[in-house]
């Protein structure tokens, strides 16, 4: 079996388990929906419709949603030593990271779809470049997933990991959140060149952090 097939198998297993027990996705969707609903109340309707404000809150919500989903996923793995059973398999560590990233990206895409639609409808945002926005969201999600999975793995055996994961992850995520916010805001306001430039930067982040994760996680999970 190839490494890609093993990654696909782990991702498929992850998504099947989440489908049966969708605690992580439900919590993440609820979280981002409440955030969008509160947004206009907190910052006022005029400010909430600002492209940069709406995009920033959306991406901050998505980053925290990614942490919620990933921590829930690894909590499930730690029960009954399911994680140990996977990492002792030949190629298990690499497949664990790749599969988790792929599954998280899929689940985040669903959360982003719900959060994005709610933002567009409830905040009545103007959307000038929908395809560009879709591109920014896709590469933004792909850039978030490897950082969050790596971070959760590094804090996996720590008792205070629920507190440490956001503390460790957010400094690393700041450049990506800036790029994703600026890219989404550019797509909302019709600046195609800026949207594509930010999407390119996010794609670079996705590649770099996937390579770092594939190098770091198999050793860290020893």
């Amino acid at each position: 079996m190839t490494a890609f097939a093993r990654i696909g198998l782990v991702a498929s297993r992850e998504l099947s388990a989440e489908r049966r027990q969708p605690d992580g996705v439900v919590a993440a969707v609820t979280f981002i929906a409440v955030l969008v609903l509160l947004e206009s109340l907190v910052v006022g309707p005029a400010n909430a419709r600002e492209a940069t404000v709406a995009a920033a809150l959306f991406w901050i919500g998505l980053a925290f949603a990614a942490m919620v989903v990933t921590m829930r996923s690894f909590d499930r793995e730690l029960e009954d030593d399911a994680l140990d059973a996977l990492v002792v398999l030949p190629g298990g560590r690499d497949a664990l990271f790749g599969g988790k990233v792929l599954a998280l990206a899929t689940m985040l895409a669903l959360v982003a779809l719900v959060g994005g639609l709610l933002s567009l409808v409830l905040l009545d945002l103007a959307l000038d470049l929908p395809i560009h926005l879709l591109l920014v969201v896709v590469v933004g999600v792909l850039a978030l997933a490897p950082v969050v999975v790596s971070d959760v793995v590094l804090a996996l055996r720590l008792r205070a990991r629920a507190a440490l994961v956001p503390i460790l992850a957010l400094p690393v995520l700041v450049p990506q959140l800036v790029a994703a916010t600026q890219g989404a805001a550019a797509a909302l306001t019709g600046d195609a060149t800026a949207a594509l430039a930010w999407a390119g930067l996010l794609a670079s982040f996705a590649v770099v952090y996937t390579v770092i994760g594939l190098t770091l996680v198999p050793v860290a999970i020893e």
């Binding site: 297993r13 388990a17 489908r19 030593d81």
Partner: protein, 126 residues
């Protein structure tokens, strides 16, 4: 050793496929361990004993070259103990290396096992 949210059959099929083997042996393994009628229930709805048997059924479902078992007979009833001893015997006959750490003395009698006794951190008999 089983992931919650998946059924016993899905768990065993995952491990069998991960090793690149066929998943045909899974149904037989689950039946041999008395789990045929519970194979499609999520593992978190099984009793502790059933989950233990489902984990041990991996012995028959996968072609693992090396098997390490730490106190595998602990908390097993007589029927499951007999099944496990038979499964260890089959794995050994298939040419797989099986290393069992146990406080029991007689579970593997007649299975061709080489016995090594360790006490207070030292080798007593080999």
């Amino acid at each position: 050793m089983l992931l919650r949210g998946l059924t016993a059959r899905e768990n065993l099929t995952f491990f069998a496929r991960f090793r690149g083997g066929a998943s045909d042996a899974v149904a037989g393994a689950l039946a041999d361990w008395g789990l045929a009628d519970r194979a499609d229930r999520p593992v978190e709805t099984l009793s502790a004993g059933e989950r233990r048997r489902a984990s041990l059924a991996r012995l028959d479902a996968e072609a693992m070259p090396l098997v390490l078992l730490d106190e595998p007979f602990a908390d097993l009833d007589e029927d499951a103990t007999t099944r496990l001893a038979a499964a260890i015997g089959r794995a050994s006959e298939d040419g797989r290396a099986v290393l069992v750490a146990t406080h029991g003395h007689h579970e593997l009698d007649g299975k061709g096992a080489r016995r090594v006794a360790i006490a207070v951190g030292g080798l007593v008999t080999a």
